[in-house]
Symmetry: C2
Subunit: 380 residues, 2 copies
């Protein structure tokens, strides 16, 4: 590139090396640390996945027990944070609250010592453990309910549902939501992960770096696609309306939410797992209406696109909103839940950035005014 050209949005520019995650878009494969997402979804709890992402290896049984214990002991919210949540204006977005709480948590005494340049931060797990706790508490407070103390005998996913509802979820629900967290735990570079790395590159704390990443995910060009899938489902109403809706939407050049992916040119492997879990939950609930309408959208839309020679597939957001809805998670918590799930990935990238660091400081191309004289306001 010459002095006067540049790649907008740094598109195609390599910003760093990374060992965390590999996306094979052409073949629809995703690997965390070399392990396929299908196998992780099947065998690895969210805590085990977090261990893998942070320690770069699978834990032995005792290591995982230790690690899980530490994460579970970090779930509770201190009084001042509960007050922040209680006082948060109802007009605010839970993403703003989450961003705020995570940097506030950086001040916790017992973790301050970990914030040096060389700290490996693997011991500062409050920011991961407490993300879902904050969200469950936020939801309870806005429903006028009281804080539920976390339970240390439940997985990260099951504990979230427990704190949200005030009663224990079924083992099936707990497992499904825990797998949802695993599916979203990492996905290479994107605006939020890149933000986490840029902030970490100044040797800021991992809390402050993750808080910043939440800020990026809050933007509607980044997070929120599964909310919009569910808005679309609401708009369509029933399975039988799908074709008429698609005719109209495509005629108006509207986007069909949750279909297609910038990187995956085959089926997003996460969407396959998500679809299975949706089918399982629908069967358990004895109500397949959500599942049916989504399948109909997929089938009809794909058929139309294939006619045009443009194969297209559902991405992870296509089925995840329906899964969350069936688990009783309010729609405006979908993106915050995504942030909670992504926190191990962000932390893994922060650690990797620190490990071989150079502060991110790209150049700007000046395109403004030539020097000009400023005169006092009264003389203008």
């Amino acid at each position: 590139m010459t002095e006067t050209t540049y790649a907008k949005g740094l598109e195609g520019v390599i910003a760093a090396e990374s060992e965390v995650c590999q996306i094979d878009g052409a073949n629809g494969k995703l690997y965390y640390r070399g392990y396929s997402i299908e196998e992780l979804a099947k065998y690895s709890s969210f805590e085990e996945t977090t261990y893998l992402l942070l320690y770069e290896k699978r834990p032995r049984k005792e290591e995982l027990e230790d690690f899980s214990q530490r994460m579970r002991e970090s779930r509770g919210l201190q009084k001042s944070v509960r007050n922040m949540i209680r006082d948060f204006p109802p007009t605010g977005s839970p993403m703003e609250l989450l961003q705020s709480v995570i940097s506030y948590l950086s001040s916790s005494v017992e973790h301050q010592i970990q914030h040096s340049a060389t700290c490996n931060c693997r011991d500062t797990l409050h920011q991961i453990s407490q993300m879902t706790t904050v969200l469950a508490t936020y939801q309870r407070f806005r429903e006028g309910k009281s804080y539920v103390e976390p339970r240390s005998d439940l997985s990260q996913g099951a504990n979230f549902l427990y704190m949200l509802r005030g009663r224990e979820p079924t083992p099936q629900e707990g497992r499904i939501f825990d797998t949802c967290l695993t599916l979203h735990a990492e996905h290479g570079f994107n605006a939020s992960t890149f933000t986490a790395r840029v902030v970490a590159s100044t040797y800021s704390t991992c809390y402050c770096s993750i808080s910043a990443a939440i800020g990026a995910l809050a933007g509607f060009l980044h997070g929120g696609a599964n909310e919009r899938v569910m808005d679309m489902v609401d708009e369509i109403g029933t399975k039988d309306n799908v074709d008429a809706w698609l005719d109209k939407a495509l005629g108006e050049r509207r986007k069909v939410m949750g279909m297609g992916h910038r990187v995956y040119k085959a089926k997003d492997p996460r969407s396959i797992v998500m679809e299975d879990m949706l089918a399982e939950l629908s069967k358990q609930r004895g109500d397949s209406s959500l599942c049916d309408i989504l399948k109909q959208i997929e089938t009809s839309f794909r058929a139309r696109m294939e006619e045009k020679g443009k194969p297209i597939y559902p991405n992870v957001d296509f089925f995840s909103g329906a899964v969350y809805a069936l688990l009783g998670i309010p729609r405006d918590l979908f993106t915050p839940v995504f942030a909670a799930a992504r926190s191990p990935g962000w932390l893994a990238h922060i650690l990797e950035q620190r490990n071989d660091n150079r502060i991110f400081r790209p150049r700007a191309l000046y395109a403004g005014s030539e020097p000009r004289a400023y005169v006092p306001i009264e003389d203008r």
Copy 2:
């Protein structure tokens, strides 16, 4: 660059066009929107500078009055934010608090409407107005003092000193601190401004973007140089110790803080203004010891470097810590004050980013493990 090479830290890579600020490092010149920092320091209040940065033009008298009025009316802190400050653990850093408060403020009812993709955000000035208010209140609370209501008849700089001390500063002090804010209001791309733009590129709110930028400035590779200048001054003790200290420090290859700049190869124009203000304050206080020791460090260090054919000059951080100290600002608030001063620059970059946006999404070069099998933990 080939597929396997990249510029670490995006060094030398152009990330965007910008009209906000021009730095002519070779000639020691800095311009905001084409106007030189010397003239701005002389003629333009911090509020006027903020107007210039955000509206891309100098205000007319009535425009400035209007604008200042709006900024001044936004200074007060709501109860919930005062509680956050009061409850903030004494072990926490005020940067963490500031980052947390600014995203919390994003929820303010009257500004929520401004957060759409196309909003120009020029009307959401709480995040600029309240930065210094938060810091003054933080300082008072940790001294066991009460909240001081902001005054709308004082400049941004004078109001900060008023709220910090609980009594009105002299006009000279108010003017000097207001000029300090102007000197730091903008400085092109760096890790924090780049962070603000990356977050803004997702169409996140300007509060969330600025909060993220604060997180980046909190890292010790970015902010904090003027604190370290003052630590050095403490270590040296008196003017007469300078040469011996320099001999030892240079022998140990220690860095002399506040000297030299990545971009300026001539005198940093901000340091000239800062030095004049330090001299003025020292004279008014009848105590030139801080000024004397800094001047001695500059003279002796520059002489040594010139002998080696390496001309070096003070940067803005060299004198600013001493100015802040004479104004009674505690050392750990120097970087937070910098953040408060830089907020108009961040906001100007956020607006510019939104105006011609592409989400920042660079690539990572995968350097990790090849695909490998994951087996359940009990079968390993």
